[in-house]
Amino acid sequence: MSLLIHLSLSFALLSILAVGGGTAVLPEMQSLLSHQFGIDHTQFIHIYSIGQLAPGPNMLMVLVIGYQLAGLLGASIVLLSFFLPSSVLCFYMGRLWNRFGESPWRRAIQNALEPISIGLMASGVYAVGKASIVGGITAALALVSFYLILRTKINPVWVILGSGGFGALLMTYLK
């Protein structure tokens, strides 16, 4: 029971801190999970990566974390805690926003939060990269993926699946 409460509070906090989207809270989530819930960096990166294959919003992988820690109940608690607080906040902010209309401060806050959230996303990239790039082959796979996704119109799902298959082949035969 206390595990569920702990999970729910942790993910609710992450939810309202997720300025600029889910990637911004990745490093915080990663360290929280390893320190307090015993999910190590490798496991976290695996779960995160699997999540990237799914359609829909890109942080649904929190469900798997909940499932790993406390089964289906854990999955639902984590899903609710991660998506409800920010959604409720956004809901009321949307209504306030409509009432107050355009104000110079609104623009200022939006401009100010944008580079902060990009900085946090960069930290997310760093956290994921540090845990997933473990040698020459993975570095090459990451670079090729980066290039393909940035420069071509290929669907990222194919890149990720291809990297999984090709990477497994390389690691099997180059060892």
Partner: protein, 190 residues
Amino acid sequence: MSLDADQLVPHTQAPKLGDIFIQFLIIGAISFGGGIIAYERILLVDKRKWLSSDEFMAYLAISQTMPGLNSVNMAVLAGDSLRGALGAIVATIGLILPGSLFVLGVGVLYSTASDHPLANLILIGIAAAASGLLAAVTYRIGEDNWRQIKSLLIIVATFLLMSVVKLSLPLVLLIMAPIAIYIYRPGKGA
């Protein structure tokens, strides 16, 4: 996009809750590989004309400023504007339902097969590509910001506090938000 009868008559009344749910459910089911905001724009502005282009941009700004995932926030705001609180709820549930089932299915597999040597090798490759994907997405979102010295400084400072000094996220926001808002305060020119 096919031209159905729906598009030929202007919407004089609010869309049905079931319709909102189904439309967001479709986005939630087909948006493999991201880009959900684009799908939402196609639905809301082009396909159903539920929002004007201006309204969409205003909601996008709120979605990006508020915490939470942009695509989910957009569903909340659009749903609310169409059918109030219930609209927001059905839009959000529709959007996350298909992916949740997918992730849960794969998650159950992962829980049972993560010790398998081949599964492990595949996961290593998948994780490497995911970090490449994340880097590409971040690079693209930040595109205009990398070139301006003001925003670049804030980006770098935030990154250093988070990843090098390793402060906690609330602390980083407490430090950086006032500084950034001061830098971008009204009257200073954007």
